[in-house]
């Protein structure tokens, strides 16, 4: 057994309102540079929908992720090592910019410089950020927001194509007959990453300490195999630098014990961050399980119980700091995935063992219950509807359980039972034992789960141990002696003028950097000068 720690995330989709704050703050932090206009480390999709980039879940077309070959061995869907090198001159599986969208900018000068006394209002027009030519904006990263255009395109959703035909036929894209939910996506920081495995130059790597998957910008040679190998299409080519870039899990913040930007700014507070312990030696076997419906349990089994004394001992023997073991024991991720078993991985059938899991949304199901003329406050009715209606359970199953509708329904039942249990518990103080029996959980567990899902505070949602530092003072001195910032590479975020606020114009304008590294606005301009 080789025990490792992984920083993982769970998103509670019931709470996502699709406000895109995560996408915007992420973009402002990481990808507001030339060459990364179309790059969204975090994007929010509306499901059903074709997603971003278009149809990215169609692995017949893009050949992302892993599959089992004829002899049952795990291979990259796009082919083995020799085949990959033979396609290095032109990658047949690479999406082009049209599969994302052509980034646009606007000629706002027309508005600013318009002379007085015009009879017509001046209008700014979109221009391509790539060619400078005037263009029509016809697609974007959230073009399908809240089912926009769904009646025309959403039946191209690859998940619908894979669903049983009878269930897919029930998914309608007509007003008041459809359902939707939002799906925020970041890099999955997989345990068995296809992008890392496909990188010819070995520039992509998984950090041994916390499992974050990164691209070494100095060693990336622009072979662009990672982009096509990632089934989630979360590695992007920076077309200005010719190098691959991807979500960094905000590692500088994680190292300092802070949540990622997308989590920090999440309005719905639906993101959870924490450590899970896993056995690296079990990863390959779990990814190679033949039955796709068995993949979910196989992936769960890779995680190690942090409360198990044997695991604790193994972690200590492997040199893991006590702080990390404690964080693993308090991890909301472990609770949601392994204890309550309500979090599910996105597309486990890609066999990458993704580390961003989702609590599936109950709301579209409850809408369906209401449409079916049943009582959405009656757990029995909800249970039956979840079983009978199969909408959108089959759809959720395509996303989260490789098509195993029973597994997806089981999670939804837990969520429905929790709501009903808490309703009677709050209204008249009774304990609905039959509900607890139905989902096989204790009253304490359900109430703790309710607390974690509904009212957990900052420190309960984000349990992130700081990167271990043996001699903090010495390291601080070492860091202070370095004038240059690691993000100051060419094309990097540190090259923008406003990035370093601790000195220069930003500091004079009343901005300062707080002790936790966050930007702050000084209300008293005299402060700090005296």
């Amino acid at each position: 057994m080789r025990i490792r720690a992984q920083v993982a995330m769970v998103m509670n989709l019931d709470k996502c309102i699709g406000c895109h704050t995560c996408s915007v703050t992420c973009k402002q932090t990481w990808t507001n540079r030339e060459g990364t206009e179309y790059v969204w480390f975090n994007n929010v999709e509306t499901k059903p929908g074709i997603g971003y980039p278009k149809h990215y879940e169609d692995q017949e077309r893009w050949k992302g992720g892993w599959k089992l070959d004829a002899r049952g061995r795990l291979t990259l869907r796009s082919g083995g090592r020799a085949k990959r090198l033979s396609r290095i001159f032109a990658n047949p599986d690479l999406p082009t910019l049209d599969d994302y969208y052509e980034p646009a900018t606007f000629d706002k000068d027309i508005l600013v410089n318009a002379p007085a006394g015009l009879t017509d209002t001046p209008v700014k027009r979109p221009h391509s950020a790539l060619t400078g030519e005037p263009m029509a904006v016809t697609w974007g990263a959230n073009w399908e927001d809240s089912l926009g255009g769904a009646h025309e395109r959403a039946d191209g959703d690859p998940n619908l194509a894979r669903m049983p035909a009878a269930a897919a036929a029930k998914v309608k894209f007509e007003f008041e007959k459809t359902f939707m939910f939002h799906l925020p996506r970041i890099c999955e920081h997989c345990l068995n990453p296809a992008c890392v495995s496909a990188c010819p130059s070995g520039a992509m790597y998984k950090r041994a300490e916390d499992g974050i998957v990164l691209v070494d910008q100095d060693r990336c040679r622009g072979w662009r195999m990672c982009v096509s190998a990632c089934p989630y299409k979360k590695v992007y080519v920076n077309h200005a630098t010719g190098k691959a870039e991807k979500c960094t899990f905000c590692f500088p913040r994680i190292e300092a014990g802070q949540p990622t930007i997308c989590s920090e700014t999440c309005v719905g507070r639906l993101r959870y961050l924490g450590i899970v312990l896993y056995d690296e030696d079990a990863v390959l076997a779990a990814a190679s399980v033949e039955d796709e419906h068995a993949l979910l349990d196989a992936q769960r089994a890779v995680f190690l119980d942090p409360h198990d004394p044997a695991v604790e001992r193994a972690a200590r023997d492997a040199g893991m700091p006590d702080e990390w073991i404690g964080a693993a024991q308090r991890s909301p991720i472990w609770k949601l995935i392994a204890e309550y078993r309500i979090a599910l991985p996105l597309h486990p059938e890609y066999r990458t063992l993704p580390m961003v899991w989702y609590v599936p949304p109950l709301s579209p199901v409850l809408d369906a219950v209401g449409l079916a003329g049943r009582d959405d406050t009656d757990a029995d009715d909800v249970f039956h509807t979840i079983r009978d209606l199969r909408i959108p359970v089959e759809y959720l199953a395509e996303l989260f359980t490789a098509g195993d509708a029973d597994a997806a329904a089981g999670v939804l039942m837990k969520l429905a039972a929790m709501r009903s249990y808490m309703r009677v518990r709050t209204l008249d103080g009774t304990v609905a034992q039959e509900l607890l029996d139905g989902i096989g959980m204790t009253a304490e567990q359900v109430e703790a789960m309710y607390r974690l899902l509904a009212i957990a505070k900052y420190d309960e949602r984000y349990v992130i141990p700081a990167a271990h530092a043996k001699d903090a003072a010495a390291l601080e001195a070492q860091a202070a002696s370095h004038d240059d910032c690691a993000l100051d590479c060419e094309g990097g975020p540190g090259m923008t003028e406003q990035f370093h606020l601790s000195e220069g114009a930003g500091a004079r304008a009343g901005l300062f950097r707080r002790t936790d590294g966050r930007r702050g606005l000084s209300l008293n301009p005299l402060r700090g000068r005296s």
Binding site: V196, A208, T241, G242, C489
Partner: protein, 248 residues
């Protein structure tokens, strides 16, 4: 003039080739990339790029065979002059045509497609112009001189001079007698080597052959220790909640 062209220039170019690569490797790892533009345009590239690269492999192999292998060696292993000539001419023409077609497609792609045109740097333009000139001269020598014309036995002159450079015994008299198209191609070739380290061609040296035997998933351990963390966000938040005093 003779010494300048056939002794000084080759050595100067080789020196720039070596020193340029050393400098670029040490100071510009970030710029050391293929600078792929397949994201911006894929249709023409999928035809042009493999043609160009495979053609280039053939052309490089042909040059190695023609310049580095002495005629006496091929004769000793039983390859007649005529057989050599037929093989080199046919293989050289085929790979040359592939190279020309691929290069033409890639250049056309840079001209026609606005997205790719915008990301084409000055150095790219210099490189493409140089490549085109070299290929035209090379094809003129192979097809024009050797196939259609009377033929020229470069193995007894140019190849000997070329190898002499590496033994520090350049025989300049062998080059002064060579046809003009060969002279130009030879000079251009050395200038091309001098240009090489400053272009995107450096990606050739990063051909990822190690991928064939490395483990799929790469793990890396942090080399430098992480600095001491600041106070927890919650602590900062709680501290900020305290009423602000009017002092300071």
């Amino acid at each position: 003039m003779t010494t300048l062209l056939w002794v000084a220039l080759p050595y100067a170019c080789l020196a720039v080739f070596a020193a340029g690569h050393a400098w670029r490797w040490r100071h510009d790892q970030f710029g050391w990339t293929t600078h792929t533009s397949q994201l911006l345009e894929s249709r023409l590239l999928r035809l042009g790029s493999p043609l160009f690269h495979l053609g280039a492999f053939g052309v490089i192999g042909g040059h190695a065979l023609g310049l580095l292998v002495p005629a006496s060696l091929t004769e000793r292993i039983g390859v007649s002059e005529h057989a050599y000539h037929v093989v080199s001419l046919s293989a050289g023409t085929v790979t040359g045509v592939m190279l020309v077609a691929g290069l033409a497609l890639l250049i056309a792609r840079r001209l026609v497609n606005g997205r790719v045109r915008r990301v084409t740097t000055t150095m790219d333009k210099v490189l493409y112009a140089f490549l085109a000139a070299m290929v035209v001269l090379g094809m003129a020598a192979t097809v024009g001189r050797n196939m259609l014309g009377g033929g020229y036995d470069y193995r007894e002159t140019i190849a000997v001079w070329f190898r002499g450079i590496f033994w520090f015994q350049p025989h300049t008299e062998l080059m002064t007698g060579a046809p003009l198209v060969y002279q130009l191609h030879a000079i251009g070739g050395f200038l091309f080597l001098a240009l090489w380290p400053f272009t995107r061609l450096v990606h050739v040296w990063s051909a990822p052959m190690a991928y064939l035997w490395r483990p799929y998933v790469v793990y890396r351990t942090r080399r430098r220790a992480v600095g001491a963390p600041g106070p927890a966000p919650a602590a900062v938040r709680d501290a900020a909640r305290r009423p602000v005093s009017s002092g300071r």
